[in-house]
């Protein structure tokens, strides 16, 4: 598609204390209908959105961490997670949930959607985009 643009959704907020994280996810879902080249960036407190084992019954909110696992169906399969942000928060890669997509160009092989990148690599990713949406 000639008019495809590179969209980056930048997620810098923790999931439940504010509405930013959920709003970002909703925009990603709506935006997916436009079939653009979408990437998601998780840095600073945004990395907390992807932790595994979230159970929200006690706070009366929807556990939308499960919805990230559906994004592969929406052809959203580039999740860039910043390593330094994880480390500063006492987290490791193993603390995040597994998110996969099926690659239609590779006989629907299941592949990981999350890619761990350094802060410098994240800066490069940001600089390569046509449109950046921040939350």
């Amino acid at each position: 598609m000639a008019d495809t643009k590179k969209f980056l959704y930048v997620n810098r907020k923790a999931p439940y204390g504010t509405i930013y994280a959920l709003e970002s996810l909703e925009v990603v879902l709506i935006g997916a209908a436009f079939e653009q080249d979408v990437s998601l960036a998780f840095l600073d407190d945004g990395v907390f959105q992807l932790t595994k084992g979230q159970k929200t019954d006690g706070i009366g909110m929807k556990n939308f961490s499960a919805t990230f696992r559906a994004l592969g169906d929406y052809d959203v399969n580039k999740f860039y997670v910043e390593k330094e942000s994880l480390e500063e928060r006492g987290l490791t890669e193993a603390d995040l949930q597994e998110i996969t997509y099926e690659d239609e160009n590779d006989d629907w092989a299941e592949k990981p959607s999350i890619r761990f990148v350094t802060r410098a690599e994240m800066a490069d990713i940001m600089s390569e985009q046509d449109v950046v949406l921040s939350f």
């Binding site: 909703e26 879902l29 709506i30 997916a32 209908a33 929807k62 556990n63 939308f64 499960a66 919805t67 696992r69 559906a70 169906d73 929406y74």
Partner: protein, 110 residues
């Protein structure tokens, strides 16, 4: 006016989506379907159950194209296509089937 399920009132919004997702029952699905002029058969139920499972796992109602792709994968391409889905749910699989399944309106569906 709320849906009437054997004498129990179930509230819905102005478009007919139920307000409290936990109030869904199979009987309620039948009542909503009737309001939508749909006579539920096994094939309708297959899609409704699929949507409920999808919501249970991912906490969203899928967009139409995602639903069709996923149905095609799990039930075969003879069911995972627009024609089949719109024959079952003439006003749109996402809109009508989600309503009957007791899910919120799919995100991005206007």
């Amino acid at each position: 006016m709320p849906y009437d399920v054997n004498g129990t009132a179930v509230e819905h919004d102005e478009e007919g989506y139920i307000t409290n997702l936990s109030e869904w029952t199979k009987d309620l699905a039948g009542v909503i379907a009737k309001a939508e002029n749909i006579d539920m058969n096994e094939e309708h139920w297959e899609v409704v159950n699929f949507l409920r499972d999808y919501y249970d796992e991912y906490q969203i109602a899928p967009a139409v194209r995602v639903l069709i792709k996923a149905v095609s994968k799990s039930m075969g391409p003879e069911k995972g296509n627009n024609k089949y889905m719109y024959e079952l749910f003439p006003y749109g699989p996402a809109k009508q089937a989600c309503k009957i399944a007791g899910l919120p309106k799919p995100t991005g569906c206007v």
